[in-house]
């Protein structure tokens, strides 16, 4: 896999300036689009609330400005729907999309593996096992609605840590042992989870629903728990874009350019696991976004991580908000788990991109 060596080697200062200014334009445009998509999503839903009412409900919450907004024609229940149901849900979808796409882009570059996604190092199976334990032991009933997310988060981190330690050879972490350890431990944990499901058939449906991934019944508590972790993780990861670019040349080259490749790898693996764990703990295992969005973006903007990572994040956020809006409105009153929609909408589009470009991606 000759990862974008050519492109980067050719990059002179002059070209760098151009790509940077061009990608900054894209980033600004996509940021505006993300905000627009979020606001539009908040106005859509099965309950009958007009665009105008939605806007006034949201604006009434803004300090100072809100005092001049009248809500005479808006029922309390409509305010609850906009502020307590749709708004946190849309924000959470955007955050999870951002997290998954960022971590996907990072891991694909870091592990030099096109099949890498945020879950590759055991995050998803660990989270799923944690969530299953919380569900079948009745912990969620006893300890409040955040018990499942926190157990999922803990499970994801414990399993990632285990994978990392299995794969470690002395002070180094070879990529292929990391991938194999991830696959092996995931299989083992999935088996334990399935076993728990066989023993607790009554809770099976809850577990399956969690596995499919969904933003239904998410509230501000979930946003408050996940947002700080996701934002911190994504921001720090993005600051290592340049290091990731250099590491693509191989550890040796990186060493010469003053980057401790092993240390950076450890740090990015930790951050990625942390961010993906935060996302998965509040949404369940939504597949596809973290794998496909970075590839799609790479096909369009090229392999430079400085533009690839932020643009992937924004596209991931937009994609997730759009698919979740579909998921909660498409069948009227019945919700579809969003993981199903991401693959249904994203799959064909990605295949189209792949066919259109018809060139080696990396």
């Amino acid at each position: 896999m000759e990862f974008c060596k050519m492109e980067l080697a050719k990059e002179s200062n002059n070209i760098k300036k151009q790509t940077n200014s061009r990608s900054i334009g894209k980033i600004v445009a996509l940021t505006i689009l993300l905000i627009f998509v979020c606001l539009t999503a908040i106005t859509i839903g099965p309950a009958d609330i007009t665009l105008n009412q939605t806007w006034r409900i949201i604006l009434s919450q803004v300090p100072v400005l809100g005092e001049s907004i009248t809500l005479d024609d808006v029922r309390i229940s409509q305010q609850t729907i906009v502020l307590q149901i749709r708004l946190p849900r849309v924000l959470l979808a955007a955050l999870v999309g951002i997290a998954l796409a960022t971590v996907g882009a990072t891991f694909q570059g870091l592990l030099k593996n096109p099949m890498a996604d945020p879950y590759i190092i055991g995050v998803s199976s660990g989270a799923a096992l944690g969530a299953t334990i919380a569900i079948v032991t009745g912990l969620s009933a006893a300890a409040g609605y955040l018990a499942v997310p926190w157990m999922a988060f803990a499970g994801a981190l414990i399993s990632t840590y285990t994978v990392y330690n299995i794969a470690r050879v002395g002070n180094r972490v070879p990529v292929y042992t990391l991938l194999l350890a991830g696959v092996a431990l995931s299989a083992f944990m999935s088996a334990i989870m399935s076993f728990l499901m066989v023993l607790n058939s009554k809770e099976m449906q809850q577990v399956v629903f969690w596995l499919l991934g969904s933003f239904s019944a998410r509230n501000w508590g979930h946003v408050q728990a996940a947002a700080p972790l996701i934002i911190i993780g994504v921001v720090i990861i993005n600051c290592f874009a340049r290091d990731l670019n250099i590491m693509l040349f191989g550890d040796h080259t990186a060493q010469h350019l003053g980057i401790d490749a092993e240390k950076t790898k450890k740090l990015l693996l930790t951050l990625g696991a942390f961010t993906a764990a935060a996302a998965v703990s509040v949404s369940g295992t939504i597949g596809f976004v973290g794998l496909i969005v970075p590839h799609g973006v790479r096909l369009v903007v090229g392999p430079d991580h400085r533009s690839l990572m932020p643009i992937s994040a924004l596209v991931g956020g937009i994609f997730m908000v759009v698919t979740d809006t579909f998921a909660r409105t498409f069948l009227g009153s019945v919700e579809i788990p969003v993981g199903i929609i991401t693959a249904m909408l994203g799959g064909p589009f990605f295949i189209y991109l792949l066919k259109r470009k018809q060139r080696d991606e990396f």
């Binding site: 969620s140 909660r328 019945v334």
Partner: protein
Amino acid sequence: MKNIYQAALILMVCVMLLAGCGSKADTTVGEDSKIFKDVLGREVEIKETPKKIISLTPAVTEILFELGLDERIIGVTEYCNYPEAALKKPKMGDFANPNVELIVDAEPQIVFVAAGVQMELIKRLEQLGITVFCLDAESVDQVIKNIQMTGEIMGVPEAAQKLTSEMQAKVDAVVLKVKDQERPVVFFEVWDEPLMSAGPGTFINSLIELAGGQNLAGDADTRYPQLSMEVLFERDPDVYIANDFHKQSDIMARPGYENLTAVKTDRVHTIDDDLVTLPGPRVVLGLEEMARIIHPELFQ
């Protein structure tokens, strides 16, 4: 090091932007309210007799209709298909994942839910300031208690009393008839592939016992055990009951089944699933049906 400074700076900005997100629904305590205890042991305050009800469980929908409260129902689930009139009520999503937005929009005074898969939902609706009451049952006695409770909450205790005493009389009649009889071994097929039955602590188990049978899976470790064919053949049930999405003839024709006593003696029966799985007023019909299947000699 430069990376870390960059990150710290951006994060500071984010923290400032995020501060002030989130809020909570508040609840007030009423003057002349009553406290009821639901099946989960939650103490629920009912401020006044509810005029707008949402039922998210088919069993409670049936109870409400049976008590003549259908005028007050403003929402049900996609699964609430009995009685016929329930189909015309506004749908609030499906059973496992009702649509919270539609529920809030309908402004109900009380929402009835089941246990199990809807446990998460209870917390969610409470946060949104909605009164939630859980009614679920794993035995006939509990169903009767639930109906009584519903009657009291809804301010129609007499109607509930009338219904439950009729039900109790029918249950007692069945129990009395099968009292000193042989107890045939009954296999209840919850699902065919994989073969699944109902174990201890389930509604079906309690119906089999009341109807004078002995549940083949009564000693299982889990509530809905997957059974190996070996266990089925080893214990060789006298009576085989499945739900009615299967045809009796198809069950009898399954390979190897010709060796089962129940098949040889032509005691394979199908039963309407809703009668034996929904903890509502029709359980009595389910019990009578079961008793007829298990002890045909007593119920001519």
